[in-house]
């Protein structure tokens, strides 16, 4: 426990004194946006990401942070990386302005965990649950291929785009997101056209062999001698109904500590 506190404090000190530390809005403590404790990024790449993050913070009033660590459990006494992210966000006093708007992306390399933690009303408006899923989709494939710099660039670029959408009054959400192409748009008309053409073709081919003789059954000519319906057994299957976790109606799910976000493996 003592070791964890010391590590955490040291990291906080690093953040404050780091070269790339951005001067936040008036009176804000200078904090680095990119904290590459796991050593995944070359210095120049880290610097480029730092500059881009600072630019986003200035433009949108929402600070995007990147934190890579060997194992998040070295920093916080929890097995939940999302909880660790919330604790660090609060402890390090991250965020932009008085409302502390910001988002933190943590990569923990020990078990390849990630967490996206968002905070503040500006952030929550831009990063809806649906938007968070979209953001995660953008960077997760890079991280799965160990493309760290590419994944972080996608994180910052997509984050900036989501903030821009919110700034323009149309946050990216279930109802406003452009929908993917629906294959039914093509399949239904093709099937219907095929049916119509088959019917029309059938009108042209009317000479066919008869296979039945229904017209020649004499009146009341069907006598059923045996009509048996015997119940043999019963089978029961159970299926769990999958809950739709995307929120369905849209919006942002915020917990009791004022955070939102998601976590998982990469």
């Amino acid at each position: 426990m003592k070791k964890k506190s010391i590590l955490s404090l040291l990291l906080a000190l690093c953040l404050v004194l780091s070269l790339g530390g951005a001067a936040l809005a008036s009176g804000e403590m200078a904090v680095s946006y990119v904290m590459d404790e796991a050593g995944l990024l070359p210095a120049e790449e880290a610097q480029a990401l730092e500059s881009r993050a600072e630019q986003i913070a200035q433009n949108y009033g929402c600070a995007p942070y990147i934190l890579t660590v060997a194992d998040f459990r070295d920093y916080e006494d929890t097995y939940d990386i999302f909880e660790a992210g919330m604790n660090l966000y609060e402890r390090w006093d991250l965020g932009y302005g008085t409302e502390k708007n910001g988002l933190l992306l943590i990569l923990s390399m020990a078990e390849r965990d990630y967490a996206l933690v968002t905070y503040g009303s500006v952030t929550h408006r831009a990063f809806t649950d649906y938007g968070q899923d979209y953001l995660i989709d953008q960077f997760l494939d890079n991280f799965r291929n160990d493309d760290w710099a590419g994944g972080f660039r996608d994180y910052l670029d997509t984050g900036a785009w989501l903030l821009e959408q919110a700034k323009n009054g149309v946050p990216y959400d279930v109802d406003t997101a452009p929908k993917g192409f629906n294959p039914l748009i093509v399949v239904i008309p093709l099937v219907l056209a095929l049916v119509v053409c088959l019917v029309l073709t059938g009108q042209m081919k009317t000479a066919n062999r008869k296979t039945g003789a229904g017209d020649y059954i004499i009146q009341n000519g069907t006598d059923l001698r045996v009509v048996q319906d015997i119940f043999t057994h019963r089978t029961v299957s159970r299926q769990v109904i999958e809950q739709n976790n995307s929120g369905g109606g849209g919006g942002t799910t915020i917990n009791s500590r004022g955070f939102s976000g998601k976590s998982g493996k990469f």
């Binding site: 929908k179 192409f181 629906n182 039914l184 748009i185 093509v186 239904i188 008309p189 093709l190 219907l192 056209a193 095929l194 119509v196 053409c197 029309l200 073709t201 009108q203 042209m204 081919k205 009317t206 000479a207 066919n208 062999r209 008869k210 296979t211 039945g212 003789a213 229904g214 017209d215 020649y216 059954i217 004499i218 000519g221 069907t222 006598d223 059923l224 001698r225 045996v226 009509v227 048996q228 319906d229 015997i230 119940f231 043999t232 057994h233 019963r234 089978t235 029961v236 299957s237 159970r238 299926q239 769990v240 109904i241 809950q243």
Partner: protein, 367 residues
């Protein structure tokens, strides 16, 4: 000298008579007189009997001679299955298939009957007289083209009726019974939701249906010259108008005797009876989500077989060097036949249906 060929002549003017389906009488083309079938049957009974007797006698004579030689009566038995007769009206030689029972003289146009054809082989039990005439068949064909969206535009204008003939086609009519015994594996499915679980209960049943289906007069055409598809497709005929055979119904039309025997054709009737018996059993099973036959057993009992002549108008047209054959039920007017398909129109319909629908769905469902 007696001849195998007879023709019905008008008692008033000796002009040739033909059977008119609309009036149901024998009519004279020249003086317009009309005669009841029964009346003419009576008048010509002796003449027909003589023709039949002559045919029998000549056939007996033929048996004693080598095939291919002319008979003493001047009528021939051709090795390739053709027969030659003398036209009783103009004396010209009529060369016909050996199955021909009624025809017209190509020289004088007189309708001619060969009664001997129905005595040497089995005599038909029934004849179903024509009710619709040649003009009705032509009109039916023209109407048949209407509303055919895929018919090439030029077809209607450019194709010409090459031949149209009214034919009494020989049919076997089969009576019989089919005993069917079918077992099915069937299920009923109920679905309920409890909490976050969907519970599906499937009840399994062993279903059995057994019974007898009785058929009367399943028709199978007995002429190898007639395409089975065409003859099947103009069914059904209204059997209530079947008449006992009288050659008085034949003048003006062609008629063939059968060249496929009842035993050979019975297989098709059996197959149709079997399929229908199974369908009847299937129809009696209801109320299940699934019902799969696991055992089927059908036993057929053949009954009486009747031989009948059915009225069919055969029309053939030609377009771009291809022949198109149509058949019309001479009693009910049902006309069938395959038509050419315009590839351009087919593609046009496919695109015309699919593309606007895609546009509408795109607007409704979003892209």
């Amino acid at each position: 000298m007696a001849t195998q060929v007879t023709n019905y002549q008008c008692p008033a003017c000796t002009g040739p008579l033909h059977y008119d389906g609309a009036s149901g009488k024998l009519e004279c083309e020249y003086c317009g007189s009309a005669y009841d079938v029964a009346e003419m049957e009576k008048r010509y009974a002796g003449k027909e009997a003589a023709a039949a007797a002559q045919a029998a006698a000549e056939e007996a004579a033929e048996l004693g001679e080598d095939q291919g030689e002319y008979t003493a009566g001047g009528e021939s038995w051709d090795p390739e299955g053709m027969k030659a007769y003398s036209c009783p009206s103009c004396g010209a030689e009529l060369v016909c298939d050996e199955t021909t029972a009624a025809t017209s003289c190509p020289y004088c146009g007189n309708p001619s009957i060969l009664p001997g054809q129905f005595t040497r082989m089995q005599k038909p039990d029934y004849v179903l007289p024509f009710k619709l005439d040649k003009k009705a068949a032509e009109d039916a064909l023209r109407n048949y083209y209407k509303g055919k969206k895929l018919l090439p535009k030029a077809f209607t204008a450019e194709n010409h009726i090459r031949e149209i003939k009214g034919v009494y086609v020989p049919f076997w009519l089969y009576d019989g019974e089919a005993d069917a015994d079918v077992s099915y594996a069937a299920t009923r499915v109920f679905t309920t939701t409890r909490g976050n679980e969907r519970i599906t209960t499937t009840e399994h049943y062993q279903v059995r249906r057994a019974g007898t289906v009785r058929f009367e007069k399943i028709p199978v055409d007995a002429s190898s010259k007639m395409p089975d598809e065409h003859m099947d497709s103009i069914e059904p005929f209204d059997y209530s108008e079947l008449k006992p055979l009288s050659t008085a119904y034949l003048p003006g039309y062609l008629a063939d005797k059968y060249d496929e025997d009842a035993e050979k054709c019975a297989q098709r009737a059996d197959q149709r009876a079997k399929t229908t018996a199974l369908n009847e059993m299937n129809r009696s099973v209801g109320g299940y989500a699934t019902c799969i036959p696991v055992r089927e057993n059908v036993r057929l009992r053949r009954g009486a077989v009747k031989y009948a002549l059915m009225p069919v108008w055969m029309l053939s047209t030609q377009w771009k060097g291809q022949n198109f054959l149509f058949a019309m039920n001479g009693q009910t007017g049902k006309l069938i036949g395959d038509l050419p398909i315009s590839r351009g129109r087919l593609l046009g319909w496919f695109a015309g249906v699919s593309l606007p629908l895609m546009a509408v769905l795109y607007l409704l469902l979003g892209g």
